[in-house]
Amino acid sequence: MLSPSPSPSSAGAETEDDDQLAPLPAPPGHGQGQGTFDVVQSYRSHLSDEDLPMPIAAVAALTELVERSSAQTMSQLVHELQAGAHKLKQGTANPISLSAGCDLFVRYVTTTRQEHDDFAQHKRSLVDQGRAYAKELPTESRDKISRFALGFIQDDAVILTHSYSRVVMQALLAAHRARKRISVYVTEARPRSLGVKTVHLLERFQIPCTLILDTAVAYIMDKVDLVLVGSEAVVESGGLINAVGTAGLAVIAKDSGRPFYALVESYKFLRHFPLNQYDLPYMPTYLPLPAQHPSRAALGLQTPSLLLSRASSLASLAGSAHGTGTPMPLSPARDQPKPGATSASASTPAPGMTKEQIDQNPEVDYTRPELISLVVSDVGILTPQGVSGYLVGVFAD
């Protein structure tokens, strides 16, 4: 769902590749030998092609790897592929969506029966299939999804969407073209603010839309008929992994009894079963609690603050900080000056978050399946439970 624009950590590598917007069938002209083929580099160059979503860019990169591979046997090839997939997952900041594509391609290569005696020929047919897949599948599945989604969008519907998603955008445009008078609320979706892009595009097609703050979702929900979101990945429980804020959106939609539909291409189905927000694959835990802060540890206050209620712990913290005269580094969540607490008003914080504060926030969150009404995918309109049925069908031996 995320746009192909690079994550902050990979920004440098991305800009170098911008001149290599080669159309997919032709391998990008790296001029490198087989031995020095860099799968991550290839992935990035495919990604910068505007229309390639992350899982498909991964498939394209792995296809290239197969093409350049010197493997003589199936087992060698699979081994190389798995190493390549691993390298891809390691080499990117947010490999969730990408790994769905990797898993799918590796699964495809391992399960395809070899029809030719000649291994080189078999490899060539794999490459052809991989290319055809990368070329046709994204548009094909998005067309299908927007056709399915059309039925859910009534004339005069008010739709809320989060951030930017190609498939949601296409569904909205399809509804618009089908002469349904839709209006759209779009969340800004901090920190990447891709909602701005959505609004910009919708305005270009003259679809009435309003950009709203992420914090205004609960405020606007009563005016909304349905929620449409894209997704970075759908996990086995049927839950979504999507730009941060989606989970909150889903909770609010559920509370107001609004249907919450996820539009997801089936190549984003990921074999993973997160148990909670912090159980996401390949992602480090964000937002450390201030209890782990070294200066707090020195004060030895963790135990009582855990036992006390939040309000009284705040008061005692403020009191003790005041009493000892030590400047207390408070967490961003707790630095609201409490009326009566004098210590907090010592220095006025600058408006807005600092870059460090933003950076320790997560990029994605996990939306539980019970909050999702239906997952609209190119393999059909599924209940969240249906996703696991599909995944088992694809990956079960």
């Binding site: 991989g130 897949y133 039925g151 859910f152 059909g380 309109i381 599924l382 209940t383 069908g393 694809v394």
Partner: protein
């Protein structure tokens, strides 16, 4: 390449089609069971008189007639369901009789072709279509009799007619089959609430009453008052029955141990279209954590979603049952004209339903999508 379209030439059959279309349109034939049965009979007739040279032609013919039937009354979902079921059987019979078609599969490239998207574990698939297996073996037997040289229609027609006959037989025994497990769902001393009149539920409760002693509370279900019919039918079968007005469903709910509802259609997300009033009872049951059980035949499984969210009342009955013309003042009364709305169906959300009891076993609502995948072909979802 679209196959050459064929039409029905047989006069009585054309008449039969027209008659069903107009009866559907005039609401002379209503209710899932009734329409399903009529549709199956019509399809049997069509198959027996159709002159087709390829299976694709026959399927197109059936689909074109199905579209007319559905247009005549789009709220009778059972029509489409029976058509989908029959189309699937036709395909299966043909594959069995003629061997797999030579056409390359039209799946998208690279969709992990070796594994089916929806595996049918043997234990799950087995009870769903036992009769099908039998006809398959019959089909292979007939092919062995060197009938391949005869025209297609002659070879497969008897098989197709037999397959449709099985659907008809299944429809006729649907009540008994739903009621089969009734005693496992009702315990001694229960107080059960039900609404409206449904033959499925009547059979279900009667069957349970052979082994269990329980009381049934029936809401009269205004303005059709079909609950009255249900109450008299049950009490004549010696089941202790209490008839209540709809307005007292909520106050009585604390005493009720189970709510049993019928369904007009079961949607792919597990939600239901039911008689108006059921959504209210289901919501009241949820407020008291009373289990809600739905009894329905498998032919009510519909590959559709409640596209318009909560609002299912898109079909309306006449106003005279709510207020008669005379009571409303007729043409003589002055002032604003009185608006009357009498919706027929309710939409019950899947999360309000605990279990669906069908002639094909008991299932939780989230499993319905899978039953639908197993029962109908993907290409028939849109008729």
């Amino acid at each position: 390449m679209p196959p050459e379209t064929i039409t029905i030439r047989d006069k009585p059959t054309i008449k039969q089609i027209e008659s069903l279309v107009s009866r559907l349109r005039r609401r002379q034939v209503i209710g899932a069971q009734e329409t399903a049965h009529e549709t199956a009979l019509l399809l049997r007739q069509i198959v027996s008189v159709a002159r087709f040279s390829s299976i694709e032609q026959l399927i197109q013919l059936i689909k074109s007639i199905a579209r007319r039937l559905i247009d005549a009354n789009p709220k009778e979902f059972a029509v489409g369901n029976i058509v989908r079921r029959v189309l699937r059987l036709i395909r299966e019979e043909c594959v069995a009789a003629l061997g797999p078609s030579d056409e390359p599969s039209t799946s998208s490239p690279f969709s992990v072709p070796e594994t089916p998207a929806y595996p049918n574990p043997p234990d799950l698939a087995a009870p769903s279509r036992p009769q099908l297996r039998a006809t398959n073996s019959l089909a292979t037997f007939m092919v062995m009799g060197n009938q391949r040289k005869k025209p297609l229609a002659i070879t497969v027609k008897p098989l197709l007619i037999q397959a449709i006959q099985e659907v008809i037989d299944e429809l006729e025994t649907v009540y008994e089959n739903v009621a089969k497990t009734a005693r496992d769902h009702i315990y001694d001393g229960e107080i059960i609430l039900t609404l409206s009149y449904s033959r499925t539920i009547e059979q279900f409760l009667k069957s349970a009453a052979r082994d269990r002693h329980f009381t049934v509370i029936v809401a009269e279900t205004a303005p059709s008052y079909s609950g009255r019919l249900m109450a008299t039918a049950l009490s004549s079968a010696n089941i202790p029955t209490v008839l209540i007005p709809d307005s007292s469903i909520y106050p009585l709910m604390p005493r009720i141990t189970k709510v049993i509802l019928g369904a007009h259609a079961i949607l792919a997300n597990g939600g239901l279209f039911t008689q108006c009033g059921c959504a209210l009872a289901a919501a009241a049951a949820r407020a008291h954590s009373t289990p809600v059980v739905v009894c329905a035949g498998q032919f009510k499984l519909t590959p559709a979603w409640n596209l318009y969210h909560e609002y299912a009342a898109l079909d309306f009955a006449g106003p005279e049952k709510v207020i008669s013309f005379e009571e409303g003042g007729g043409g003589e009364r002055g002032g604003e004209p009185l608006g009357v709305i009498n919706p027929i169906y309710d939409y019950v959300k899947p999360e309000l339903v605990d279990v669906l009891i069908t002639n094909d076993g008991d299932h939780p609502p989230p499993y319905v999508y899978r039953l639908i995948k197993e029962t109908y072909d993907d290409e028939d979802m849109q008729l």
